[in-house]
Amino acid sequence: MAFEWIKIPYALLTLFIVVNYGMLLGALMQKIAARVGRRHGVPIWQNYADLIKNYGLRTSITHGVMFYLGPVFRLSGGVGLLLFVPTIYGSEMFSNLSFAGDLILALYFVFFGTLGMALGAGESGHPHAAIGVSRGLAQVTAAELPFALAVFAVALQYQTLSITDIVAAQQGGVENWTLFTNPLAVAAAMLAFLGSMMRPPFDVVLAPQEIPIGPPTEYHSSYLALMQTNRAIFPIAKIVVYMNLFFGGAATWPVFFLKVFCIYLVSVFVGVVFPRFRVEQSIRWFLVWAVPLGVLAILLV
């Protein structure tokens, strides 16, 4: 598992694929959500247009160094999370830079982006940004607990912390997936997944009207462009972790695209139906429904 120079181009390739897939998948999901509202929905390439427009904007302002670095932290968090987790099982090409750390690294690297973004938003001086961040952090403590419990249950079940070993243990047929061998853990994890995807039941952080899109309210032009690239990569990267842990990982790219789409659909499916939770409601919801599942998962593994 040592580092070879060839891994860099392979990683960039994975990155390229995932960015584009993310853009398209994002637009597709928006279209699906629109169709639920009997609207036609945005064109599939809309994300590209928005991205290029934002990169193309000629002026921008900055509130200070930390404000300037916020999006950089955010995007490097997304890219890092993607690269630290092997996307395609079995292929040396697409095991990215996962030699650097195992499941724990992925679990904690999620916070790298969040922290950076929070600091950037803080520097903007906008009260709405701070309110958004405080809601986001408050919600994430409750949302992360079931996921951590699920991850721990899986680690206990397979007696390993390295993602490739976990995926290896789930090969050979659908019945070997963690979904079926440890359903409680997967249930807890999926509930936690809803909380982390910023979709309506739990999107009080980016509430568009109440606090104009929360933390990124002061971000624009190229900063926003970086964030949009991250919004393309980060969900996919998170879903890759879920896929590897709970849904048997992907041996080939088509399987990868299918599974990612299905997992993403879960959050969209729930998102379009439910109204928005307040922070204490979402915390209570997680502690009442998701955490017991996680605890059972640990005890019964």
Binding site: R39, V42, D50, L51, L57, R58, T217, Y219
Partner: protein, 221 residues
């Protein structure tokens, strides 16, 4: 500063003496300390025409409107978000903050008080930015042509790229208007921001002539 009714400054913006934690007294000048007063500058497009056209295509395709309804036209903009007219299909989206918007729609009559807010919102948007005026009120004052506190000709205060006529144009007209705007953008003629920067003093003079309690820097970043 005697309280001249014409140039009234709110107390929180008046310069004041403040004592620091180490006991040193110093003067705080809010208008100078809290706000950046750099003037806007003309921004040239990309060097290569092909790149600029490409960017213009992207700008046209993703028109982010600032949620800033002033007059009666705002009610016409709501249906665009509904399934029936669905502006999203054309890449049009509403953004709550001026930073991220690039299209300001002045939807109807504009009182001097609202003009001050409109100017601030316009100036907080990033170059290139476009202004669309709805209805006759923005063209020549419309039915308020002789009112003492409405803006008769929007063009003197903000660089307007497109007017959509109608005493209040229906959503279809709006969509058509936006299509025309897209053509302008794609053609590269929607350089309102640069026009504003070039004759910035003229615009500013007109604005100050109408807005009396001018207690903000010339260009609101």
């Amino acid at each position: 500063m005697k309280r001249d009714p014409m140039h009234f400054i709110k107390p929180e913006l008046m310069p004041r003496k403040v004592k620091g934690p180490d006991g040193v007294e110093f003067e705080v000048e809010p208008l100078r300390d809290y706000f950046c007063d750099a003037p806007p500058t003309v921004q040239h497009g990309a060097y290569l025409k092909i790149v600029e056209d490409f960017f213009n295509w992207a700008r046209a395709q993703s028109l982010w409107i600032l949620g800033f309804g002033t007059g009666c036209g705002a009610i016409e903009m709501r249906p665009l978000m509904t399934p029936r007219f669905d502006a999203y299909r054309y890449g049009i989206q509403w953004r709550p903050t001026a930073r991220q918007a690039n299209l300001l729609v002045i939807s109807g009559y504009l009182s001097t008080k609202t003009l001050k807010r409109a100017i601030r919102a316009y100036e907080q948007m990033q170059n290139p930015k476009y202004v669309v005026g709805l209805g006759s009120c923005t063209i020549n004052g419309g039915m308020y042509w002789d009112s003492y506190n409405t803006i008769k000709c929007l063009d003197q205060y903000l660089p307007v790229d497109l007017y959509i006529t109608g005493c209040m144009p229906r959503p279809e007209a709006l969509l058509q208007g936006f299509e025309d705007l897209k053509k302008l953008i794609r053609a590269g003629q929607a350089e309102g921001a640069n026009r504003y920067a070039e004759n910035f003093t003229w615009y500013k003079a007109n604005q100050k002539q109408v807005i009396h309690d001018w207690d903000m820097p010339d260009y609101n970043w």
